[in-house]
C-alpha cells in the first residue's frame, strides 16, 4: 500500500465516521479531531472516559496528527507496517461488518428490488506456511443465482441505507440461513477441486518429522508424555487446513437487471 493510498484510506475512514478533518499546512500530513466513539475505539483510555462520564463533564476528545513522510517532524509517522494503521484497519472491520443496502434507481426503472445475500471471506491455506485469498460471493435469495466477485460489482452501484420511496422489495424464497449454507457448499466444492500439492508436501514434512520422533523414542516401550506432546505439536505445525474467516456480510436489495450475463454463474 503506497503512502498516498494510506492517506486516502484514512481520509475516507475518518470522514465516514464523522471525525472532523482539521486544516494542515503540509499535504504530507493529516489532522483529525476524533469523535467520542472514535476516541474510545482508538485512544485506549478507558479510565478517562469512565471518570468523565461519572462526573458528567464535557469530554475533550483527542486530536491525531499523522504524517506520511519521515522527512517531517510533527505527527505520527504512518506507513503500511505502523501499528496505528492496523488498529484503524481493525476498527474499520469491526464497524463495517454487517450491512443492509438498497439500490438507488433511475426514476423510470421498475420499482421492484430483489434480495441478495453478500458474504466476503478470507480463505487461508495453512500448514507450517500460510497464504490467503479473498472471496466475495453474492446469492440471489429468490432464484439462487450465485456470483463471485460480488463486492467489486457493488462498488459500481449507487446504494443507500434507506429503501427509496417509490421502490418495494420482493420477498425471498431462500432463507438467509440456507443461503449461507449454499454459499459454504459452493466454496467447499471449489476448494476441493483445487490442486493440493501444498497440502501433500506439508504432510510429507509431517510424516518425516513424525518418523524422526518415533526413532528418538524407539527404545522406550512406555512413551513419555513428552512424546505425545511433541506429536501433538507436529500436528499443529504441519496439518494442512483451509480456514475461512468472515470479513463482512450483508443484505442487498438490487434491481433484477443489475448483473450482466457473462458475470453470472449458474448453480
Amino acid at each position: 500500500m503506497q503512502q498516498a493510498e494510506i492517506r486516502d484510506f484514512l481520509v475516507r475512514f475518518f470522514s465516514s465516521s464523522d471525525c472532523e478533518l482539521l486544516p494542515i499546512s503540509n499535504p504530507a500530513q493529516l489532522k483529525v479531531k476524533l469523535t467520542k466513539q472514535m476516541d474510545k475505539l482508538l485512544m485506549n483510555r478507558p479510565f478517562y472516559w469512565h471518570y468523565i462520564e461519572q462526573i458528567g463533564q464535557t469530554p475533550e476528545t483527542a486530536t491525531l496528527t499523522f504524517r506520511f513522510t519521515d522527512q517531517l517532524d510533527e505527527g505520527e509517522f504512518v506507513h503500511f507496517g505502523s501499528p496505528r494503521l492496523h488498529q484503524i484497519f481493525n476498527t474499520a472491520e469491526q464497524l463495517g461488518r454487517y450491512i443492509r443496502l438498497y439500490q438507488v434507481l433511475a426514476p423510470q426503472s421498475s420499482p421492484a428490488l430483489e434480495p441478495w445475500l453478500g458474504i466476503n471471506m478470507k480463505i487461508s491455506y495453512q500448514c507450517d506456511l500460510k497464504k490467503d485469498r479473498l472471496i466475495s460471493m453474492g446469492l440471489q435469495l429468490i432464484n439462487g443465482t450465485l456470483i463471485e466477485g460480488f463486492q467489486t460489482m457493488l462498488t459500481r452501484l449507487d446504494l443507500n441505507q434507506k429503501l427509496p420511496n417509490y421502490c418495494y422489495t420482493l420477498s425471498p424464497l431462500i432463507t438467509v440461513k440456507s443461503g449461507i449454507q449454499r454459499i459454504e457448499r459452493f466454496i467447499e466444492s471449489e476448494l476441493e477441486s483445487e490442486p493440493s500439492e501444498w497440502a501433500d508436501q506439508a504432510s510429507e514434512r509431517w510424516v518425516k518429522d513424525q518418523d524422526l520422533l518415533d526413532t528418538f523414542y524407539e527404545h522406550q516401550d512406555e512413551k513419555p508424555d513428552r512424546y505425545f506432546q511433541e506429536q501433538k505439536a507436529l500436528k499443529e505445525q504441519y496439518q494442512p487446513k483451509i480456514s475461512l474467516q468472515l470479513i463482512n456480510v450483508g443484505l442487498f436489495y438490487l434491481q433484477s437487471s443489475t448483473f450482466l450475463p457473462g458475470l453470472v454463474k449458474d448453480h
Binding site: D70, D128, R205, T215, K241
Partner: protein
C-alpha cells in the same frame, strides 16, 4: 492429503439478530473500507517475506533477510541461528517473529534471554519491529500477554513454572542457547518440556566441533533428527572430541543451522586501528608509586592490597587515595606512622596527572567523539573535572545507572558533548557506534572487559574505522599487562566474541585472578615475565587450534 476445511460460523447469530432487530447496520463506506483493509493485508503466496516491506525504517542487511527466509521456508521454523557475533541475530529473530505474526501463523511467543538482556530485547522488538513484547514482571503476564520476554531462571521457578508449562506457545526463542548444552540440567529439561510449534535457538558459539552439544541442542529442536543418544554416539562418535562420518553429520546439522560469517556477508567491516601509549610518570608520580612498596616490605599490607594500590596509582592519585586512606585507618599504629607519613606527603606532592594530560592532548587532536574507559569512579570524576577545566564537557556513564539514565547520557553524548567517561561496559551495555574513538585510560585485568568496551563501538552500524588508544604507565604493573599479555594474545585485534569461547574452552574464565596471583607470588620482574608469557602461550595455542577447526568447519559447509 486432503486439507481440513474450517468455516468460521461465530458471526451467524449476530447477523441473524441484526436482521431481526432491523439493525444496527454499518455505513456503506465503512463496509467497503473493511473489505479494502483485508484486501491490502492478504498474503498471496506461501513464499517470500512480507515483513521487510512493513518495516520501512529498519535497515536490514541481505544476510538477515535471507536467514529469515531460510528459517521459515527451508527449516520450517525450527532452527539454530549461529551467526558470528555482531551480525544481528536479534534482528533475524525479530524478523522471523514479525513474518510469522503478519501471516497469522504465530500469536503466542516466549523469548528466554539472560536477565541482563530482557529489557534490551523488549525495547528492540517494540521500537524496531512494532512487536508488542513485554518483560515478564508479574505472574499474570504469562497468560495475559502474547509476546513475553523473560530470563530462563525466572521462568523455571515456581510459581511461574507451572503457568509457563500450561501455555501453548506458537514460537519459543532462546538466546545464548549454548548454555543448554547439558541435557541433565534443570534449564535443559525445562525448555524441553515447553509446548511449542516453532523454535529458534540463538548462539554465537559454533557448535560443530562439540558432539554432545550438537546432539542435545538439535534434539531440543527436532527430537530424533540425529537419532537417539545411543545411535548418535554409535554413528558419529569416536572418542570424546573426535568425530566419524563428519561430512554426513555436518550436512545434517547445516540443514537446521544458519551460520553467517563476517567475511561472507559482504558487509564493510570497519578496520580497527590500535595505538598504545607508554606514558612515563612525572617525577612526583613516580616517587609516590615507588613509595607504595615500602608498605609491603614492612608487612603493613598484603601483596594483594599493594597490587590494588599500584594499579590505582597508575590511574590517578584520586583513585589511590580512597584505598590508601582506608588502609591507613585500619592498620596505622603509632609505630608505623613514620611509614605512612612520607607516602601521604608524596601523594600530596603530585601536581599533575601524566595520563590525563595525554588524554587531553589526544582528545583535542582527535576533534571528534571520544569514549574514555576507566576502572575507577574516582578517576572518572577527576577526568571530568580535569577536562572541564580545560574547556571540554563530558558526561559520565556507569553500569549502575538505570536504563533511563543510560539512554539519557547516550543521547547527551550523541548530540551535545564530545566526551563520555565510562566506568563499565558490560551488563546491559549501550551501543555507541556513532563514536569511533575509544581510550582505554587504564586496563582492566579481565580481558573480557576490554572486549566488551570495544564491542560498544565496533559493531554493525559503525561506519568509520575504529580507533583504540591504550594507555599504560611505563615500568609499572600496567605496562607488564599490556606488553607481556594483552599485546601478545592480540587482544585488541580479536574478533568480538572469540575470546570468550577461547577462555571458556581452556577453563580460564577468571583470568584476572590468575594475573593477580602471578603478580602477588612472583619474586622478580623476570618471574612475572615468564609466567605471563606462559599464560599468553596457552591462550595463543587455543586460538590457533580454533582457527584451524573453524577453517575445517567452513570448508565442510560448502
Amino acid at each position: 492429503m486432503k486439507p481440513l476445511i474450517q468455516f468460521d460460523r461465530t458471526w451467524h447469530e449476530e447477523f441473524f439478530k441484526r436482521i431481526d432487530d432491523d439493525g444496527p447496520w454499518a455505513k456503506s463506506e465503512l463496509f467497503s473500507l473493511a473489505y479494502l483493509a483485508e484486501k491490502e493485508r492478504v498474503v498471496p503466496t506461501f513464499h517470500g517475506l512480507i515483513a521487510p516491506k512493513r518495516l520501512p525504517l529498519l535497515k536490514l542487511h541481505p544476510h538477515q533477510v535471507e536467514t529469515a527466509r531460510m528459517v521459515i521456508e527451508d527449516m520450517h521454523g525450527k532452527a539454530i541461528l549461529a551467526d558470528e557475533v555482531g551480525l544481528g541475530k536479534t534482528i533475524e529473530a525479530g524478523l522471523i517473529i514479525k513474518e510469522y505474526m503478519i501471516r497469522g501463523l504465530v500469536k503466542k511467543v516466549l523469548i528466554l534471554v539472560p536477565a541482563s538482556l530482557v529489557l534490551q530485547w523488549v525495547s528492540e522488538l517494540n521500537s524496531k519491529f512494532y512487536i508488542p513484547a513485554v518483560a515478564q514482571r508479574k505472574a499474570y503476564v504469562w497468560s495475559q500477554y502474547d509476546v513475553v520476554v523473560s530470563s530462563i531462571d525466572t521462568a523455571k521457578r515456581e510459581p511461574h513454572r507451572d503457568i509457563v508449562m500450561e501455555q501453548n506457545y506458537d514460537l519459543i526463542i532462546i538466546d545464548e542457547a549454548h548454555k543448554l548444552k547439558n541435557h541433565k540440567t534443570k534449564n535443559y529439561q525445562f525448555v524441553q518440556s515447553l509446548k511449542k510449534r516453532f523454535c529458534l535457538l540463538l548462539t554465537a558459539t559454533p557448535i560443530q566441533n562439540r558432539l554432545n552439544e550438537i546432539f542435545y541442542l538439535v534434539s531440543l529442536l527436532k527430537p530424533g533428527y540425529l537419532g537417539d543418544a545411543e545411535s548418535f554416539s554409535k554413528n558419529y562418535k569416536s572418542g570424546i572430541r573426535s568425530v566419524k562420518n563428519e561430512q554426513k553429520l555436518k550436512a545434517l546439522v547445516n540443514q537446521v543451522m544458519v551460520r553467517n560469517r563476517r567475511e561472507d556477508t559482504g558487509l564493510h567491516w570497519p578496520k580497527r586501528i590500535i595505538k598504545s601509549f607508554d606514558i612515563p610518570f612525572s617525577q612526583t608520580e613516580q616517587a609516590f608509586y615507588d613509595s607504595l612498596s615500602t608498605l609491603r616490605e614492612n608487612g603493613v599490607v598484603q601483596p594483594f592490597s599493594l597490587l590494588t594500590l599500584q594499579r590505582e596509582a597508575c590511574s590517578s592519585r584520586e583513585a589511590a587515595f580512597a584505598t590508601l586512606n582506608k588502609l591507613y585507618k585500619s592498620t596505622a599504629t603509632p609505630v608505623n606512622e613514620r611509614l605512612w607519613h612520607p607516602i601521604f606527603e608524596k601523594l600530596n606532592a603530585i601536581d599533575h596527572n601524566s595520563k590525563a594530560e595525554k588524554a587531553l592532548e589526544l582528545i583535542k587532536h582527535i576533534n571528534d567523539k571520544v569514549i574514555i574507559f576507566t576502572e575507577y569512579r574516582a578517576s572518572q570524576l577527576y577526568l571530568q573535572w580535569f577536562l572541564k577545566k580545560n574547556g571540554i564537557s563530558s558526561v559520565p556513564f556507569n553500569g549502575g545507572f538505570r536504563r533511563n539514565k543510560k539512554d539519557w547520557m547516550r543521547m547527551l553524548f550523541q548530540n551535545r558533548v564530545q566526551v563520555l567517561v565510562a566506568t563499565e561496559a558490560g551488563g546491559e551495555g549501550i551501543n555507541l557506534q556513532f563514536a569511533s574513538h575509544l581510550i582505554n585510560y587504564d586496563l582492566p585485568w579481565n580481558p573480557m572487559r576490554i572486549e566488551q568496551r570495544i564491542g560498544r563501538i565496533h559493531r554493525l552500524g559503525q561506519e568509520n574505522d575504529v580507533h583504540i588508544y591504550n594507555f599504560a604507565t611505563r615500568e609499572t604493573v600496567e605496562s607488564h599487562i599490556l606488553n607481556l599479555l594483552y599485546n601478545k594474545i592480540h587482544l585488541f585485534e580479536q574478533v568480538i566474541g572469540e575470546l570468550d569461547k577461547i577462555l571458556n574452552h581452556i577453563d580460564l574464565q577468571d583470568v584476572d585472578q590468575q594475573i593477580a596471583h602471578i603478580f602477588e607470588e612472583s619474586e622478580s620482574d623476570g618471574e612475572i615475565k615468564i609466567k605471563l608469557d606462559n599464560l599468553s602461550s596457552v591462550i595463543n595455542f587455543e586460538q590457533e587450534n580454533r582457527a584451524e577447526d573453524d577453517h575445517h568447519a567452513a570448508s565442510g559447509n560448502s
